[in-house]
Protein backbone atom coordinates (compact mmCIF):
# COMPACT_ATOMS: atom_id res chain seq x y z
CA UNK A 1 0.00 0.00 0.00
CA UNK A 2 1.40 3.39 -0.89
CA UNK A 3 0.40 6.32 1.22
CA UNK A 4 0.44 9.54 -0.72
CA UNK A 5 -0.54 12.65 1.11
CA UNK A 6 -2.60 15.08 -0.86
CA UNK A 7 -1.26 18.63 -0.67
CA UNK A 8 -2.06 20.15 2.69
CA UNK A 9 -4.85 22.60 2.93
CA UNK A 10 -6.61 24.40 5.74
CA UNK A 11 -9.82 22.44 5.52
CA UNK A 12 -9.49 18.69 5.08
CA UNK A 13 -10.59 17.60 1.65
CA UNK A 14 -13.87 15.85 1.13
CA UNK A 15 -14.20 12.60 -0.74
CA UNK A 16 -14.76 14.38 -4.03
CA UNK A 17 -11.33 15.97 -4.03
CA UNK A 18 -8.66 14.22 -6.05
CA UNK A 19 -10.98 12.72 -8.66
CA UNK A 20 -8.90 14.55 -11.23
CA UNK A 21 -5.86 12.37 -10.53
CA UNK A 22 -5.18 9.38 -12.71
CA UNK A 23 -7.60 6.55 -12.00
CA UNK A 24 -5.00 4.26 -10.41
CA UNK A 25 -3.21 6.93 -8.45
CA UNK A 26 -6.56 8.22 -7.30
CA UNK A 27 -7.52 4.82 -6.06
CA UNK A 28 -4.30 4.40 -4.11
CA UNK A 29 -4.43 7.79 -2.46
CA UNK A 30 -4.98 8.41 1.21
CA UNK A 31 -6.08 11.89 2.13
CA UNK A 32 -5.36 13.19 5.60
CA UNK A 33 -8.57 11.83 7.05
CA UNK A 34 -8.10 8.54 5.24
CA UNK A 35 -4.78 8.01 6.97
CA UNK A 36 -6.67 7.64 10.25
CA UNK A 37 -7.92 4.26 9.04
CA UNK A 38 -4.39 2.90 9.00
CA UNK A 39 -3.93 2.12 12.72
CA UNK A 40 -7.03 -0.07 12.79
CA UNK A 41 -6.27 -1.71 9.46
CA UNK A 42 -2.73 -2.58 10.52
CA UNK A 43 -3.96 -3.80 13.90
CA UNK A 44 -6.61 -6.07 12.33
CA UNK A 45 -4.15 -7.29 9.72
CA UNK A 46 -1.72 -8.45 12.40
CA UNK A 47 -4.06 -9.70 15.12
CA UNK A 48 -7.06 -10.91 13.12
CA UNK A 49 -6.46 -11.45 9.43
CA UNK A 50 -2.96 -12.95 9.54
CA UNK A 51 -4.00 -15.67 12.03
CA UNK A 52 -7.04 -16.47 9.83
CA UNK A 53 -4.84 -16.70 6.75
CA UNK A 54 -2.45 -18.94 8.61
CA UNK A 55 -5.37 -21.11 9.73
CA UNK A 56 -6.61 -21.49 6.16
CA UNK A 57 -3.11 -22.40 5.03
CA UNK A 58 -2.63 -24.96 7.79
CA UNK A 59 -5.77 -26.80 6.69
CA UNK A 60 -3.85 -27.98 3.61
CA UNK A 61 -0.37 -28.26 5.13
CA UNK A 62 -0.89 -29.82 8.56
CA UNK A 63 0.09 -32.64 9.02
CA UNK A 64 0.98 -33.19 5.35
CA UNK A 65 0.61 -31.09 2.24
CA UNK A 66 -2.62 -31.85 0.41
CA UNK A 67 -6.36 -32.13 0.77
CA UNK A 68 -6.34 -35.07 3.17
CA UNK A 69 -8.10 -33.14 5.92
CA UNK A 70 -10.99 -32.24 3.62
CA UNK A 71 -11.16 -35.77 2.22
CA UNK A 72 -11.53 -37.07 5.75
CA UNK A 73 -14.44 -34.72 6.49
CA UNK A 74 -16.37 -35.63 3.37
CA UNK A 75 -15.73 -39.38 3.40
CA UNK A 76 -16.06 -40.40 7.03
CA UNK A 77 -19.68 -40.69 8.08
CA UNK A 78 -19.05 -39.40 11.63
CA UNK A 79 -17.98 -36.04 10.27
CA UNK A 80 -20.58 -35.93 7.50
CA UNK A 81 -23.22 -36.47 10.14
CA UNK A 82 -21.90 -33.45 12.06
CA UNK A 83 -22.17 -31.30 8.92
CA UNK A 84 -25.73 -32.49 8.27
CA UNK A 85 -26.56 -31.93 11.93
CA UNK A 86 -25.20 -28.41 11.85
CA UNK A 87 -27.38 -27.47 8.90
CA UNK A 88 -30.45 -29.23 10.31
CA UNK A 89 -30.18 -27.43 13.64
CA UNK A 90 -29.44 -24.07 12.00
CA UNK A 91 -32.42 -24.45 9.63
CA UNK A 92 -34.75 -25.47 12.45
CA UNK A 93 -33.61 -22.55 14.59
CA UNK A 94 -34.12 -20.17 11.67
CA UNK A 95 -37.61 -21.50 10.95
CA UNK A 96 -38.74 -21.30 14.59
CA UNK A 97 -37.20 -17.83 14.92
CA UNK A 98 -39.09 -16.64 11.82
CA UNK A 99 -42.37 -17.96 13.18
CA UNK A 100 -41.88 -16.05 16.44
CA UNK A 101 -40.05 -12.95 15.21
CA UNK A 102 -42.36 -11.96 12.35
CA UNK A 103 -45.56 -11.56 14.36
CA UNK A 104 -43.56 -9.96 17.18
CA UNK A 105 -42.03 -7.38 14.83
CA UNK A 106 -45.46 -6.77 13.34
CA UNK A 107 -46.93 -6.17 16.78
CA UNK A 108 -44.14 -3.66 17.39
CA UNK A 109 -45.18 -1.69 14.29
CA UNK A 110 -48.83 -1.41 15.32
CA UNK A 111 -48.21 -0.83 19.05
CA UNK A 112 -48.34 2.58 20.72
CA UNK A 113 -44.90 4.16 21.38
CA UNK A 114 -44.96 3.19 25.06
CA UNK A 115 -45.78 -0.46 24.39
CA UNK A 116 -43.29 -0.50 21.53
CA UNK A 117 -40.54 0.64 23.90
CA UNK A 118 -41.46 -2.17 26.29
CA UNK A 119 -41.53 -4.75 23.47
CA UNK A 120 -38.10 -3.56 22.30
CA UNK A 121 -36.70 -3.75 25.81
CA UNK A 122 -37.96 -7.31 26.27
CA UNK A 123 -36.60 -8.57 22.97
CA UNK A 124 -33.19 -7.03 23.75
CA UNK A 125 -32.86 -8.88 27.07
CA UNK A 126 -31.15 -11.91 25.46
CA UNK A 127 -28.84 -9.51 23.65
CA UNK A 128 -27.63 -7.87 26.85
CA UNK A 129 -27.54 -10.69 29.36
CA UNK A 130 -24.43 -12.80 29.46
CA UNK A 131 -24.69 -15.91 27.32
CA UNK A 132 -23.43 -17.97 30.25
CA UNK A 133 -26.00 -16.62 32.67
CA UNK A 134 -28.68 -17.43 30.11
CA UNK A 135 -27.32 -20.88 29.31
CA UNK A 136 -27.08 -21.63 33.03
CA UNK A 137 -30.68 -20.50 33.47
CA UNK A 138 -31.80 -22.75 30.61
CA UNK A 139 -30.04 -25.72 32.16
CA UNK A 140 -31.92 -25.04 35.41
CA UNK A 141 -35.13 -24.80 33.39
CA UNK A 142 -34.74 -27.88 31.21
CA UNK A 143 -33.13 -30.40 33.59
CA UNK A 144 -35.02 -33.54 34.67
CA UNK A 145 -35.34 -31.93 38.09
CA UNK A 146 -35.67 -28.51 36.46
CA UNK A 147 -38.43 -25.95 36.47
CA UNK A 148 -40.46 -27.19 33.48
CA UNK A 149 -40.44 -30.86 34.47
CA UNK A 150 -41.18 -30.09 38.15
CA UNK A 151 -44.14 -27.93 37.28
CA UNK A 152 -45.51 -30.39 34.74
CA UNK A 153 -45.13 -33.27 37.21
CA UNK A 154 -46.71 -31.52 40.16
CA UNK A 155 -49.56 -30.47 37.88
CA UNK A 156 -50.00 -34.12 37.01
CA UNK A 157 -49.47 -33.62 33.31
CA UNK A 158 -46.62 -36.16 33.24
CA UNK A 159 -45.56 -38.96 35.57
CA UNK A 160 -41.89 -39.04 34.68
CA UNK A 161 -39.62 -36.18 33.68
CA UNK A 162 -39.47 -35.67 29.92
CA UNK A 163 -35.82 -35.42 28.84
CA UNK A 164 -35.29 -31.90 27.48
CA UNK A 165 -31.63 -31.31 28.21
CA UNK A 166 -29.19 -32.98 25.81
CA UNK A 167 -31.82 -33.17 23.07
CA UNK A 168 -32.43 -31.31 19.84
CA UNK A 169 -35.43 -29.62 21.50
CA UNK A 170 -33.14 -28.24 24.18
CA UNK A 171 -30.66 -26.87 21.64
CA UNK A 172 -33.37 -25.18 19.58
CA UNK A 173 -35.03 -23.83 22.73
CA UNK A 174 -31.77 -22.19 23.77
CA UNK A 175 -30.61 -20.99 20.38
CA UNK A 176 -33.89 -19.35 19.30
CA UNK A 177 -33.73 -17.14 22.37
CA UNK A 178 -30.32 -15.83 21.38
CA UNK A 179 -31.37 -15.41 17.75
CA UNK A 180 -34.59 -13.48 18.41
CA UNK A 181 -33.18 -9.93 18.70
CA UNK A 182 -31.12 -10.37 15.52
CA UNK A 183 -34.23 -11.40 13.62
CA UNK A 184 -36.80 -9.06 15.15
CA UNK A 185 -34.81 -5.83 14.81
CA UNK A 186 -34.14 -5.91 11.02
CA UNK A 187 -37.71 -7.06 10.43
CA UNK A 188 -39.08 -4.21 12.52
CA UNK A 189 -36.74 -1.71 10.82
CA UNK A 190 -38.21 -2.68 7.44
CA UNK A 191 -41.83 -2.95 8.55
CA UNK A 192 -41.66 0.51 10.12
CA UNK A 193 -40.98 2.07 6.72
CA UNK A 194 -43.96 0.43 5.01
CA UNK A 195 -46.59 3.00 4.13
CA UNK A 196 -49.76 1.87 5.89
CA UNK A 197 -51.85 3.76 3.34
CA UNK A 198 -50.98 1.08 0.81
CA UNK A 199 -52.93 -1.37 2.95
CA UNK A 200 -55.85 1.04 3.10
CA UNK A 201 -55.65 1.41 -0.67
CA UNK A 202 -55.79 -2.35 -1.15
CA UNK A 203 -58.83 -2.53 1.11
CA UNK A 204 -60.38 0.46 -0.59
CA UNK A 205 -60.16 -1.43 -3.84
CA UNK A 206 -62.06 -4.30 -2.34
CA UNK A 207 -59.47 -6.61 -0.80
CA UNK A 208 -60.18 -8.12 2.60
CA UNK A 209 -57.84 -6.99 5.46
CA UNK A 210 -56.11 -10.38 5.47
CA UNK A 211 -55.70 -10.21 1.69
CA UNK A 212 -54.20 -6.74 1.96
CA UNK A 213 -51.82 -8.00 4.63
CA UNK A 214 -50.59 -11.03 2.66
CA UNK A 215 -50.49 -9.36 -0.76
CA UNK A 216 -49.14 -5.93 0.24
CA UNK A 217 -47.54 -5.90 3.68
CA UNK A 218 -45.76 -9.26 3.60
CA UNK A 219 -44.05 -8.77 0.21
CA UNK A 220 -42.91 -5.27 1.26
CA UNK A 221 -41.43 -6.61 4.49
CA UNK A 222 -39.37 -9.28 2.72
CA UNK A 223 -36.02 -7.39 2.69
CA UNK A 224 -36.07 -7.17 6.48
CA UNK A 225 -37.17 -10.78 6.79
CA UNK A 226 -34.35 -11.96 4.52
CA UNK A 227 -31.79 -9.90 6.44
CA UNK A 228 -33.00 -11.25 9.77
CA UNK A 229 -33.11 -14.83 8.59
CA UNK A 230 -29.68 -14.79 7.02
CA UNK A 231 -28.15 -13.25 10.14
CA UNK A 232 -29.90 -15.90 12.23
CA UNK A 233 -28.83 -18.77 10.01
CA UNK A 234 -25.19 -17.67 9.78
CA UNK A 235 -24.97 -17.18 13.52
CA UNK A 236 -26.64 -20.51 14.20
CA UNK A 237 -24.11 -22.37 12.02
CA UNK A 238 -21.25 -21.21 14.22
CA UNK A 239 -22.77 -21.55 17.70
CA UNK A 240 -20.69 -23.39 20.21
CA UNK A 241 -21.79 -22.65 23.78
CA UNK A 242 -25.51 -23.43 23.53
CA UNK A 243 -25.26 -26.71 21.62
CA UNK A 244 -22.38 -27.86 23.80
CA UNK A 245 -24.37 -27.21 26.98
CA UNK A 246 -27.92 -28.06 25.95
CA UNK A 247 -27.36 -30.60 23.19
CA UNK A 248 -26.49 -34.27 23.47
CA UNK A 249 -23.78 -36.29 21.76
CA UNK A 250 -26.20 -36.98 18.90
CA UNK A 251 -26.57 -33.26 18.08
CA UNK A 252 -22.90 -32.37 17.80
CA UNK A 253 -22.45 -29.25 15.67
CA UNK A 254 -19.39 -28.18 13.73
CA UNK A 255 -18.27 -25.68 16.38
CA UNK A 256 -18.13 -28.38 19.05
CA UNK A 257 -16.24 -30.69 16.71
CA UNK A 258 -13.65 -27.98 16.10
CA UNK A 259 -13.08 -27.50 19.83
CA UNK A 260 -12.93 -31.26 20.40
CA UNK A 261 -10.33 -31.70 17.67
CA UNK A 262 -8.13 -29.07 19.27
CA UNK A 263 -8.60 -29.78 22.96
CA UNK A 264 -8.71 -33.57 23.02
CA UNK A 265 -6.89 -34.94 19.98
CA UNK A 266 -4.75 -31.90 19.04
CA UNK A 267 -5.49 -32.24 15.32
CA UNK A 268 -4.94 -28.63 14.35
CA UNK A 269 -4.96 -29.21 10.58
CA UNK A 270 -8.23 -31.11 10.72
CA UNK A 271 -9.81 -28.49 12.97
CA UNK A 272 -8.58 -25.83 10.53
CA UNK A 273 -10.25 -27.64 7.62
CA UNK A 274 -13.53 -27.74 9.53
CA UNK A 275 -13.14 -24.03 10.27
CA UNK A 276 -12.51 -23.28 6.59
CA UNK A 277 -15.71 -25.10 5.64
CA UNK A 278 -17.68 -23.10 8.21
CA UNK A 279 -16.02 -19.84 7.18
CA UNK A 280 -16.50 -20.58 3.48
CA UNK A 281 -20.20 -21.34 3.97
CA UNK A 282 -20.61 -18.11 5.93
CA UNK A 283 -18.99 -15.98 3.26
CA UNK A 284 -20.81 -17.68 0.36
CA UNK A 285 -24.11 -17.00 2.12
CA UNK A 286 -23.11 -13.38 2.68
CA UNK A 287 -21.98 -13.00 -0.93
CA UNK A 288 -25.34 -14.30 -2.15
CA UNK A 289 -27.07 -11.91 0.25
CA UNK A 290 -25.05 -8.95 -0.94
CA UNK A 291 -26.41 -9.53 -4.47
CA UNK A 292 -29.85 -8.39 -3.41
CA UNK A 293 -29.17 -6.43 -0.24
CA UNK A 294 -26.88 -3.69 1.00
CA UNK A 295 -24.66 -5.69 3.31
CA UNK A 296 -22.76 -2.69 4.62
CA UNK A 297 -25.98 -1.05 5.71
CA UNK A 298 -27.24 -4.28 7.21
CA UNK A 299 -24.12 -4.70 9.36
CA UNK A 300 -23.62 -1.05 10.12
CA UNK A 301 -27.24 -0.65 11.19
CA UNK A 302 -27.19 -3.66 13.43
CA UNK A 303 -26.60 -1.97 16.74
Amino acid sequence: MTATLTPTEAAPSGPTEGRRDGALRGRLTFDRWGLLALPLLVFLLVVFIAPLAFLIASSVTDPTLGLDNYRKIFTESVYLRVLVNTFTVALTVTAVTLALAYPYAYLMTIATPRWRALLTLIILVPFWTSILVRSFALVLLLRDTGVLNSIAMSAGAIDEPVPLLRTMTGVVFGMVQIALPFAVLPMYATMRTIDRRLLDAAQGMGDRPSGAFWRVFVPLSMPGVAAGLILTFIQALGYYITPALLGGPKNTMIGELIVQQVSTVLQFGFAAALAVILLGTTFVLLAITSKFMNLERMLMGRS
Partner: protein
Protein backbone atom coordinates in the same frame (compact mmCIF):
# COMPACT_ATOMS: atom_id res chain seq x y z
CA UNK B 1 -64.24 -9.40 14.75
CA UNK B 2 -61.36 -11.23 13.03
CA UNK B 3 -59.33 -8.10 13.60
CA UNK B 4 -59.84 -8.31 17.37
CA UNK B 5 -59.07 -12.03 17.33
CA UNK B 6 -55.86 -11.44 15.36
CA UNK B 7 -54.77 -8.71 17.75
CA UNK B 8 -55.54 -10.94 20.74
CA UNK B 9 -53.48 -13.75 19.20
CA UNK B 10 -50.59 -11.35 18.57
CA UNK B 11 -50.66 -10.06 22.14
CA UNK B 12 -50.83 -13.61 23.49
CA UNK B 13 -47.80 -14.53 21.39
CA UNK B 14 -45.90 -11.49 22.64
CA UNK B 15 -46.69 -12.42 26.24
CA UNK B 16 -45.42 -15.96 25.62
CA UNK B 17 -42.24 -14.66 24.01
CA UNK B 18 -41.70 -12.27 26.92
CA UNK B 19 -42.10 -15.18 29.32
CA UNK B 20 -39.74 -17.29 27.22
CA UNK B 21 -37.09 -14.58 27.27
CA UNK B 22 -37.48 -13.37 30.87
CA UNK B 23 -38.52 -16.38 32.97
CA UNK B 24 -35.25 -18.32 32.75
CA UNK B 25 -33.39 -15.31 34.09
CA UNK B 26 -35.93 -14.65 36.83
CA UNK B 27 -35.47 -18.21 38.08
CA UNK B 28 -31.80 -17.60 38.88
CA UNK B 29 -32.13 -15.43 41.97
CA UNK B 30 -34.59 -17.68 43.87
CA UNK B 31 -32.29 -20.61 43.11
CA UNK B 32 -29.29 -18.73 44.47
CA UNK B 33 -30.91 -18.32 47.90
CA UNK B 34 -32.43 -21.81 48.06
CA UNK B 35 -31.23 -24.10 50.83
CA UNK B 36 -31.36 -27.06 48.47
CA UNK B 37 -27.79 -27.69 47.33
CA UNK B 38 -28.91 -29.74 44.30
CA UNK B 39 -30.80 -26.79 42.92
CA UNK B 40 -34.06 -28.66 42.46
CA UNK B 41 -37.17 -26.66 41.70
CA UNK B 42 -39.02 -25.20 43.56
CA UNK B 43 -36.43 -23.53 45.82
CA UNK B 44 -36.64 -24.35 49.53
CA UNK B 45 -36.00 -22.07 52.49
CA UNK B 46 -33.80 -19.05 52.35
CA UNK B 47 -30.05 -18.70 52.82
CA UNK B 48 -27.18 -16.42 51.85
CA UNK B 49 -24.77 -19.37 52.26
CA UNK B 50 -23.93 -19.63 48.58
CA UNK B 51 -22.99 -15.97 48.43
CA UNK B 52 -20.92 -16.46 51.57
CA UNK B 53 -19.02 -19.40 50.09
CA UNK B 54 -18.50 -17.31 46.98
CA UNK B 55 -16.98 -14.48 48.99
CA UNK B 56 -14.48 -16.83 50.62
CA UNK B 57 -13.29 -18.28 47.30
CA UNK B 58 -10.44 -16.13 45.98
CA UNK B 59 -10.43 -17.81 42.54
CA UNK B 60 -13.73 -16.14 41.63
CA UNK B 61 -12.34 -12.75 42.55
CA UNK B 62 -9.16 -13.40 40.60
CA UNK B 63 -11.17 -14.31 37.50
CA UNK B 64 -13.49 -11.33 37.87
CA UNK B 65 -10.50 -9.02 38.27
CA UNK B 66 -8.82 -10.41 35.17
CA UNK B 67 -12.03 -10.08 33.16
CA UNK B 68 -12.48 -6.50 34.31
CA UNK B 69 -8.89 -5.54 33.41
CA UNK B 70 -9.18 -7.12 29.97
CA UNK B 71 -12.59 -5.56 29.31
CA UNK B 72 -11.50 -2.07 30.34
CA UNK B 73 -8.27 -2.21 28.36
CA UNK B 74 -9.87 -3.60 25.22
CA UNK B 75 -12.72 -1.09 25.43
CA UNK B 76 -10.19 1.75 25.67
CA UNK B 77 -8.14 0.43 22.74
CA UNK B 78 -11.32 -0.15 20.73
CA UNK B 79 -12.43 3.42 21.33
CA UNK B 80 -9.14 4.88 20.06
CA UNK B 81 -8.80 2.65 16.99
CA UNK B 82 -12.52 2.65 16.20
CA UNK B 83 -12.96 6.42 16.47
CA UNK B 84 -9.97 7.08 14.21
CA UNK B 85 -11.30 4.58 11.68
CA UNK B 86 -14.77 6.13 11.83
CA UNK B 87 -13.27 9.54 11.06
CA UNK B 88 -11.51 8.03 8.06
CA UNK B 89 -14.66 6.23 6.91
CA UNK B 90 -16.97 9.21 7.13
CA UNK B 91 -14.62 11.96 5.97
CA UNK B 92 -11.64 10.50 4.22
CA UNK B 93 -10.65 8.62 1.15
CA UNK B 94 -8.33 5.69 1.21
CA UNK B 95 -7.50 2.86 -1.16
CA UNK B 96 -9.56 -0.35 -1.38
CA UNK B 97 -12.34 1.23 0.59
CA UNK B 98 -14.86 -1.60 0.30
CA UNK B 99 -12.26 -4.24 1.09
CA UNK B 100 -11.02 -2.20 4.06
CA UNK B 101 -14.56 -1.80 5.35
CA UNK B 102 -15.15 -5.53 4.98
CA UNK B 103 -11.95 -6.18 6.95
CA UNK B 104 -13.05 -3.79 9.68
CA UNK B 105 -16.49 -5.39 9.97
CA UNK B 106 -15.30 -8.98 9.54
CA UNK B 107 -15.01 -9.60 13.30
CA UNK B 108 -18.83 -9.34 13.34
CA UNK B 109 -19.12 -12.00 10.66
CA UNK B 110 -16.48 -14.63 11.40
CA UNK B 111 -17.83 -17.18 13.92
CA UNK B 112 -16.08 -16.85 17.28
CA UNK B 113 -15.06 -20.53 17.23
CA UNK B 114 -12.95 -19.79 14.14
CA UNK B 115 -11.50 -16.62 15.65
CA UNK B 116 -10.60 -18.59 18.76
CA UNK B 117 -8.93 -21.40 16.84
CA UNK B 118 -6.97 -19.08 14.53
CA UNK B 119 -5.79 -16.81 17.31
CA UNK B 120 -4.96 -19.74 19.58
CA UNK B 121 -2.66 -21.30 16.97
CA UNK B 122 -1.01 -17.95 16.26
CA UNK B 123 -0.65 -16.94 19.92
CA UNK B 124 0.85 -20.31 20.88
CA UNK B 125 3.78 -19.47 18.63
CA UNK B 126 4.45 -16.09 20.24
CA UNK B 127 3.56 -17.04 23.80
CA UNK B 128 0.46 -14.85 24.10
CA UNK B 129 -1.99 -17.51 25.27
CA UNK B 130 -3.02 -17.22 28.92
CA UNK B 131 -1.79 -13.62 29.02
CA UNK B 132 -3.86 -10.46 29.58
CA UNK B 133 -2.24 -8.88 26.52
CA UNK B 134 -3.38 -11.75 24.30
CA UNK B 135 -6.96 -11.39 25.55
CA UNK B 136 -6.91 -7.61 25.10
CA UNK B 137 -5.66 -7.90 21.51
CA UNK B 138 -8.38 -10.35 20.44
CA UNK B 139 -11.19 -8.69 22.34
CA UNK B 140 -10.27 -5.36 20.77
CA UNK B 141 -10.80 -6.93 17.33
CA UNK B 142 -14.23 -8.13 18.43
CA UNK B 143 -15.26 -4.84 20.05
CA UNK B 144 -13.89 -2.34 17.58
CA UNK B 145 -16.67 -2.73 14.95
CA UNK B 146 -19.25 -1.58 17.50
CA UNK B 147 -17.28 1.58 18.24
CA UNK B 148 -16.85 2.23 14.51
CA UNK B 149 -20.55 1.75 13.77
CA UNK B 150 -21.69 3.95 16.65
CA UNK B 151 -19.17 6.74 16.07
CA UNK B 152 -19.74 6.78 12.29
CA UNK B 153 -23.44 7.25 12.94
CA UNK B 154 -22.64 10.21 15.20
CA UNK B 155 -20.10 11.81 12.88
CA UNK B 156 -22.51 11.97 9.98
CA UNK B 157 -24.62 14.50 11.84
CA UNK B 158 -21.79 16.68 13.18
CA UNK B 159 -21.98 20.25 11.84
CA UNK B 160 -18.71 20.75 10.00
CA UNK B 161 -19.13 24.54 10.09
CA UNK B 162 -18.44 24.50 13.83
CA UNK B 163 -15.12 22.79 13.18
CA UNK B 164 -14.23 25.30 10.48
CA UNK B 165 -15.11 28.12 12.83
CA UNK B 166 -12.81 26.65 15.44
CA UNK B 167 -9.99 26.31 12.88
CA UNK B 168 -10.53 29.85 11.64
CA UNK B 169 -10.23 31.06 15.22
CA UNK B 170 -6.78 29.50 15.37
CA UNK B 171 -7.29 26.06 16.89
CA UNK B 172 -5.26 23.25 15.37
CA UNK B 173 -6.87 20.07 14.02
CA UNK B 174 -6.21 18.09 17.22
CA UNK B 175 -7.49 20.83 19.48
CA UNK B 176 -10.55 21.25 17.24
CA UNK B 177 -11.24 17.54 17.46
CA UNK B 178 -10.89 17.47 21.25
CA UNK B 179 -12.92 20.61 21.90
CA UNK B 180 -15.55 20.62 19.15
CA UNK B 181 -15.94 17.25 17.45
CA UNK B 182 -15.41 14.95 20.42
CA UNK B 183 -18.00 16.61 22.67
CA UNK B 184 -20.51 16.39 19.82
CA UNK B 185 -19.98 12.65 19.30
CA UNK B 186 -19.36 11.79 22.95
CA UNK B 187 -22.65 9.89 23.42
CA UNK B 188 -21.81 7.71 20.40
CA UNK B 189 -18.26 7.14 21.64
CA UNK B 190 -19.59 6.11 25.06
CA UNK B 191 -22.18 3.81 23.52
CA UNK B 192 -19.45 2.19 21.42
CA UNK B 193 -17.24 1.86 24.50
CA UNK B 194 -20.08 0.19 26.40
CA UNK B 195 -20.65 -2.29 23.56
CA UNK B 196 -16.94 -3.05 23.39
CA UNK B 197 -16.72 -3.47 27.16
CA UNK B 198 -19.66 -5.87 27.30
CA UNK B 199 -18.41 -7.80 24.27
CA UNK B 200 -15.15 -8.46 26.09
CA UNK B 201 -16.67 -8.97 29.54
CA UNK B 202 -19.12 -11.62 28.23
CA UNK B 203 -16.91 -13.22 25.63
CA UNK B 204 -16.41 -16.91 26.31
CA UNK B 205 -15.72 -18.82 23.09
CA UNK B 206 -12.39 -17.24 22.17
CA UNK B 207 -11.55 -17.06 25.86
CA UNK B 208 -11.96 -20.84 26.20
CA UNK B 209 -9.19 -21.27 23.63
CA UNK B 210 -6.86 -18.75 25.30
CA UNK B 211 -7.54 -19.68 28.94
CA UNK B 212 -5.50 -22.05 31.04
CA UNK B 213 -4.15 -22.42 34.53
CA UNK B 214 -2.23 -19.19 34.01
CA UNK B 215 -5.29 -17.09 33.27
CA UNK B 216 -9.02 -17.76 33.35
CA UNK B 217 -11.59 -15.05 32.73
CA UNK B 218 -14.90 -15.04 34.60
CA UNK B 219 -17.02 -16.44 31.73
CA UNK B 220 -14.58 -19.32 31.26
CA UNK B 221 -14.65 -20.09 34.96
CA UNK B 222 -18.46 -20.13 34.84
CA UNK B 223 -18.36 -22.27 31.71
CA UNK B 224 -16.25 -24.96 33.33
CA UNK B 225 -18.49 -24.77 36.40
CA UNK B 226 -21.66 -25.33 34.37
CA UNK B 227 -20.04 -28.10 32.35
CA UNK B 228 -18.61 -30.04 35.25
CA UNK B 229 -21.19 -29.71 37.98
CA UNK B 230 -24.03 -27.30 38.51
CA UNK B 231 -23.79 -25.86 42.00
CA UNK B 232 -25.59 -23.01 43.74
CA UNK B 233 -22.49 -20.83 43.77
CA UNK B 234 -23.02 -20.45 40.01
CA UNK B 235 -26.52 -19.15 40.65
CA UNK B 236 -25.03 -16.63 43.08
CA UNK B 237 -22.44 -15.49 40.51
CA UNK B 238 -25.13 -15.24 37.81
CA UNK B 239 -27.36 -13.17 40.09
CA UNK B 240 -24.49 -10.80 40.83
CA UNK B 241 -23.73 -10.46 37.11
CA UNK B 242 -27.37 -9.63 36.41
CA UNK B 243 -27.26 -7.08 39.23
CA UNK B 244 -24.19 -5.44 37.67
CA UNK B 245 -25.97 -5.33 34.31
CA UNK B 246 -29.09 -3.74 35.77
CA UNK B 247 -26.86 -1.27 37.64
CA UNK B 248 -25.04 -0.33 34.44
CA UNK B 249 -28.34 0.32 32.72
CA UNK B 250 -29.67 2.45 35.54
CA UNK B 251 -26.41 4.42 35.59
CA UNK B 252 -26.42 5.05 31.84
CA UNK B 253 -30.06 6.06 32.08
CA UNK B 254 -29.17 8.43 34.91
CA UNK B 255 -26.19 9.81 32.98
CA UNK B 256 -28.39 10.43 29.97
CA UNK B 257 -30.91 12.23 32.16
CA UNK B 258 -28.22 14.46 33.69
CA UNK B 259 -26.81 15.15 30.25
CA UNK B 260 -30.21 16.22 28.99
CA UNK B 261 -30.66 18.43 32.04
CA UNK B 262 -27.27 20.07 31.51
CA UNK B 263 -27.91 20.54 27.80
CA UNK B 264 -31.18 22.29 28.60
CA UNK B 265 -29.49 24.60 31.08
CA UNK B 266 -26.43 25.53 29.05
CA UNK B 267 -26.91 28.82 27.28
CA UNK B 268 -25.06 27.78 24.13
CA UNK B 269 -27.42 25.10 22.98
CA UNK B 270 -26.00 23.86 19.71
CA UNK B 271 -28.16 20.80 19.57
CA UNK B 272 -29.26 20.45 15.99
CA UNK B 273 -30.33 16.86 16.06
CA UNK B 274 -33.93 17.99 16.05
CA UNK B 275 -34.78 16.52 19.44
Amino acid sequence: MTRILTRAALVLLAVLIAAYVLLPILVIFPMSVSENGFMAFPPEGFTWDWYRSLSTDPTWFASAGQSLTVALASAALSVVLGTLAALALVRGRFPFRRLALLAMLSPLIVPYVIVGLAVYIAFLKVGLTETPLGFVLVHTCLGVPYVMINVSAGLVSVDRRLEMASMNLGAGPVSTFMRVTLPAILPNVLAGALFAFITSWDEVVVAIFLSGPGMTTLPVKMWSGIRVEIDPTLAAVSSLLLLVLIGTFLLTGLARGIQRLLARRSSVNLDHSGV
